[in-house]
Amino acid sequence: MTAGPGQRSDAGAAEPLLAVKGLTIDLPGGARQRGLVEDVTFEVRKGQAVALIGESGCGKSLTSMAILGLLPAAVRVAAGSIHFDGVDLLTCNRKQLRKVRGGPVGMVFQEPMSSLNPTMTVGDQIAEVRRLHLGERRSVALKEASKLLSRVGIPNADRRLGSYPHEMSGGMQQRVMIAAAIACDPKLLIADEPTTALDVTIQAEILELLRDLRRDLDLAVLLVTHDLGVVADFCDDVVVMYAGHIAERTPVDRLFYEPQHPYSSALLAAVPQAGRARTSLTVIPGRVPSAGHFPGGCRFEPRCAHSVEDVCRRPQADTAIADDRRTRCGRVASGDLILKGTVRG
């Protein structure tokens, strides 16, 4: 990086922090090869919060794992690119990838209990990040770990350094995970269902913490979740995934006014709304098809309330309908179908 400051900021404005293009993940195995994620494209700009949303089995977690090369051994990336800060994480060498992991990109996982090493103190697990990336001595790194624990709202941080994960509550464990993820001042935090395994009250606290950190550290966040309620007041952009595809990409406020994919509107309808009496529980009929059993046409067609013959039986293309909006529903793209949001605009 010999570029001057002016050039640097120009490049920053033009180039997103994270750019995922045409990402395709499959389960190799000859004739039984199955596509799990197909042609996924989205961006996260500096300081922006983007949600990856969908029911479980949609491929959103796999997508987030692929960014840092953490896919399970049986699964592989078949096509696409993942650029972070200008470097393609799929083609760079292992050493470069290791520098990114835990350095400029931090990651928080779903189940804090099983995602923390049970035989290591929480202090050592946080300090580990600084020792690996900054080469700090253990004693120095532990001092920093103590500051980080305070930062994520754990009282008596110095004493808590020596605790083991099983001695803490789920909420505390998730705070430790976050502390380790931000230990090296990352630019991007990937949070894979960070609140799903927690009690409702704790969920709110953790989200509050993430919001604070985002503001204070100018942190970009990629939030993987199935909870639209979380998305509404935390994220800027939403990427809705269904059966390995992106169904819709949109700024979050527009999603609630005018969803551009029947799946998005079905998800919206399934969210309990304050002040709106619900006479019947709205759920999407059927289940997400499993990989290898995706329908040949629109993948949502079998469950879609707006499906019509012909159009929906053909594969759907990812179509731009505005500068910042894309949909994979042919009927919406052609203006044939206009969906109503849950919020009147």
């Binding site: 840092l68 953490l70 292992r94 290791r98 520098k99 990114v100 992991r101 835990g102 350095g103 931090g106 990651m107 996982f109 189940e111 099983s114 995602s115 923390l116 090493n117 049970p118 035989t119 290591m120 580990e128 990040v129 690996l132 990336h133 083991y164 099983h166 001695e167 995970m177 380790a180």
Partner: protein, 315 residues
């Protein structure tokens, strides 16, 4: 591990030892016929039989016999040998060093070979290394240690005169000398346990690798030796330590036969001769001594388990 826990484990061990002492005592009572006559042999005179009867206290009521025997044990008095009139305790302590040392060295062999092979196999699942380790382990488990001992003697002592075929020298005679006598017996004894450990270690490493915390560590940039040492080994070690404890008994049994192959006069030959001569006080002492060692090893394993596994330590 908390002090209370150590005391509880110690108490459990002592209870087992007490029960073993009852079984050992009853052993002599179970001998069919008149014990004193059986021990004295067919050609014994009446005087000899009654001497043995009095010597063993067989003329007294059974509870009194047990309590006086048990009090003796507590004071380290296991009675005297029926043939040499030397104290059982002294004889055992004299015979013990080669046996104990070969067993300990066998544990070292087992841990070094078994755990290393298991880790490598677990980290390279599906590779040719992994498959060879699994095949060798399956073979090793099926191989009797005394046969392995004979094969090792054939190859390393008879066909090639590299190591002595029989005997044992004390470590005070020189380390190299001692090692040359200890290598073959402890390898023969330890390899089956190494095979068992390799299997378990491989399974544990493979299991730990699928755990979310290993993924977390990778997400933090950990890799290679750092990842293996801090995140994989310690977690995989927890079940492996338990297996090692279970194998201690197998080693203490196997050493009897391995000693016989190498002509080492340790506890094994003492035990075999005592059985052949019906030297009951000696057998009782030997069984009790073995039980003490097993209980001690299990106690050490429990402590190690607590040291490795923080969930036990702080519970």
């Amino acid at each position: 591990m908390s002090a209370g826990m150590v005391i509880r484990r110690l108490g459990g061990g002592l209870l087992v030892l007490w029960l073993v002492s009852i079984l050992t005592f009853l052993l002599v009572q179970l001998i069919p016929g008149d014990v004193a006559e059986v021990i004295a042999g067919e050609n014994a005179t009446v005087a000899e039989v009654s001497r043995i009867r009095i010597e063993l206290g067989l003329d007294k009521p059974i509870l009194e016999q047990y309590s006086s025997w048990f009090v003796g044990i507590l004071q380290g008095d296991l009675g005297d040998s029926l043939f040499t009139n030397r104290s059982v305790a002294d004889t055992i302590i004299e015979a013990a060093p080669p046996t104990v040392i070969i067993t300990l060295m066998a544990i070292v062999v087992a841990v070094v070979i078994g755990v290393t092979a298991g880790i490598v196999a677990g980290l390279t699942q599906g590779s040719w290394i992994d498959r060879s380790v699994s095949a060798l382990a399956t073979l090793g488990i099926a191989m009797p240690s005394f046969w392995l001992a004979m094969v090792l003697v054939s190859v390393f002592a008879l066909a090639n005169p590299w190591l002595p075929a029989t005997g044992y020298v004390d470590i005070r005679e020189g380390f190299g000398e001692w090692l040359s006598y200890v290598i073959l017996p402890s390898t023969a004894l330890g390899l089956a346990t190494a095979a068992e450990l390799a299997r378990h270690t491989r399974g544990c490493v493979a299991d730990v690798l699928t755990r979310p915390y290993v993924r977390t560590a990778r997400a933090r940039g950990a890799s290679g030796v750092w990842l293996v040492r801090r995140h994989i080994l310690r977690n995989a070690a927890i079940p492996v330590v338990t297996v090692l404890g279970l194998q201690a008994g197998r080693l203490l049994g196997g050493v009897i036969v391995v000693e016989a192959v190498f002509g080492i006069s340790g506890l094994g030959s003492l035990a075999i001769n005592s059985v052949l001569q019906r030297n009951y006080p000696m057998i009782q002492g030997y069984v009790l001594f073995s039980a003490v060692i097993v209980v001690a090893i299990n106690l050490i394993v429990d402590l190690a388990y607590g040291w490795i596994n923080p969930k036990v330590r702080t519970a």
